[in-house]
Symmetry: C2
Subunit: 311 residues, 2 copies
């Protein structure tokens, strides 16, 4: 098995699991609505380190990553559950109190109610599983699999900042607080997702990285893509000199992940729709199934998926 | 904070979280149904050890513990999600393949569909979060908080076996396979739960231990309880000689946990109902709020909650 994505594909096919493979699972609720549901595991020393993690922000981020999945389906978040595993030494601090306070501040903003969870001891690492339920109009959840050749590709905001913030946190570099905050306290695009659900032909959140997440859309929709480098909004001007070579900045912009912006496609006849004026038009879908072409300085290269993967 | 139960009470009160505090959260689905939803975290070296864990059985148990929560609400399980965190060395084995095969065998039995999840790397320990959604008739989920003084207490099966099985697994004692299986591959009482939902005034699954789980009902319903030792079904005859003192066997029967039998109460006018003939009548609810009295050899003692707690 090459990666966790291959494993998920394998399980999906082996057990005929049709609801797996998007940002959220969609299950029928009532005559007018579906539920969209997601779960995200956050593990100490994989997703964050105790040395730079701030408990309140970790609470915020635990909810934000799942809200971002709800946003990517065009959903309205409603309920959440939290499973939290912590070692004995953390139990004795005010970690959980702070963690829940950060969680609730964001929950209140989006009117999400905590309805359950689990609290467990772990031998030594903090682990959090965040589960969020949202609602969408029946059969109107925006999937990854419904884009078409010729659709135009958009993104809701600038890329590469969270990955750059992570680099500064890991290196314990002073300053760069705005970039660090993008990593520590991301902003889920809930309102944008609901708004875009009326026009997007497909949508995903950028959690692994643009290169990998766009490929998820391409594979699910059986299309290819062409991206125009100059049109991609980035934190390039905030990149330090020693990182400014083409290859290194590309890593952050295309493969950095955790931007939690929404990547979406629109039928080309709608690209002048005023709904889209706040977003960035970065490319288009092609017939070159499963391949992403990058146009930069008038040259075309193949963009390989190098976004975050665990295995 | 004394225990995780105190912490959950604290969070519930601080943020006014009315849906927290039962085996499952209940949320409205449609005109005729509610959803009941639960999440359970299983952590290596807390809930199981790699030395005696069998991947297929761990898959089974991950689902079984959550199904048991659905059973305790009288629910019919429908959908599930799984977040699995594993270290690199386990990724390279057939652990996940075996784990999912055990999970699916049980899922198929109860017609549960896997609709999503997460796969993550961890630094060194296996961690699993199991989420299950079930359905109940609108406003008919069986709660912990709805029992009354005078109701009669029942349990669906024998207690103490899973804890005794754990002892043999931990001590690497040969044999005792049927007891070890109670620990490794518990049987969730789904059909019993649905059946009992028509007659039970309250219900909980015995996951922490009879003493603690009965106290959860007593506190939620603001009642007390009286138990008759001779009426409690146990694995006493399978207990080894050196454990057979009163105190030690009590630990297993009252505080062992993980029996995953259902503990429920019934209005005393219904105790001759033929629905109850397969179950064990072990006591009754009293006015002595928050206290459990144990009658053994004609003597009365107070039964303190000594079931499993993490902190």
């Amino acid at each position: 098995m090459n990666s966790e994505f291959d494993f998920i594909d394998h399980i999906k096919s082996k057990y005929d699991l049709s609801k797996i493979g998007d940002d959220c699972a969609v299950i029928p609720k009532d005559k007018k609505h579906d539920f969209v549901i997601t779960t995200d595991l956050l593990v100490e020393d994989i997703d964050f380190r105790r040395s730079w993690m701030i408990p309140k922000f970790l609470g915020h981020k635990s909810l934000a990553v799942s809200l971002s999945d709800i946003a990517a389906m065009g959903g309205k978040p409603k309920f959440a559950m939290l499973s939290v595993g912590i070692p004995e030494d953390i139990w004795k601090t005010n970690f959980l109190e702070e963690f829940y306070s950060g969680w609730h501040k964001l929950a209140k903003k989006f009117k999400v109610e905590l309805i359950g969870g689990d609290v467990s001891k772990t031998p030594d690492k903090i682990v959090i599983d965040s589960i969020v339920f949202g609602e969408v109009t029946r059969n109107k959840a925006v999937m990854r699999s419904t884009a078409n050749v010729g659709d135009q590709i958009f993104v809701t905001g600038k890329l590469g900042g969270a990955a750059l913030g992570l680099k500064y946190l890991e290196e314990k570099t002073e300053g760069f607080d705005s970039l660090k905050k993008l990593q520590l306290k991301p902003n889920p695009r809930i309102y944008e997702g609901q708004f875009l659900s009326k026009i997007a032909t497909s949508m995903i959140d950028i959690s692994d990285g643009l290169s990998s997440d766009l490929l998820h859309i391409c594979r699910a929709s059986e299309v290819g893509a062409k991206l125009f480098f100059d049109k991609i909004p980035t934190y390039l001007n905030e990149f330090p000199q020693n990182l400014s070579s083409k290859i290194q900045t590309s890593n952050y912009i295309f493969d950095g992940g955790e931007d939690f912006e929404l990547l979406f496609t629109v039928n080309s006849k709608n690209i002048l729709d005023k709904k889209l004026t706040n977003f960035h038009h970065i490319g288009e879908l092609t017939q070159n199934t499963g391949n992403i072409e990058l146009i930069r300085d008038s040259k075309s290269t193949v963009l390989l998926p190098k976004g975050y993967q665990h295995f």
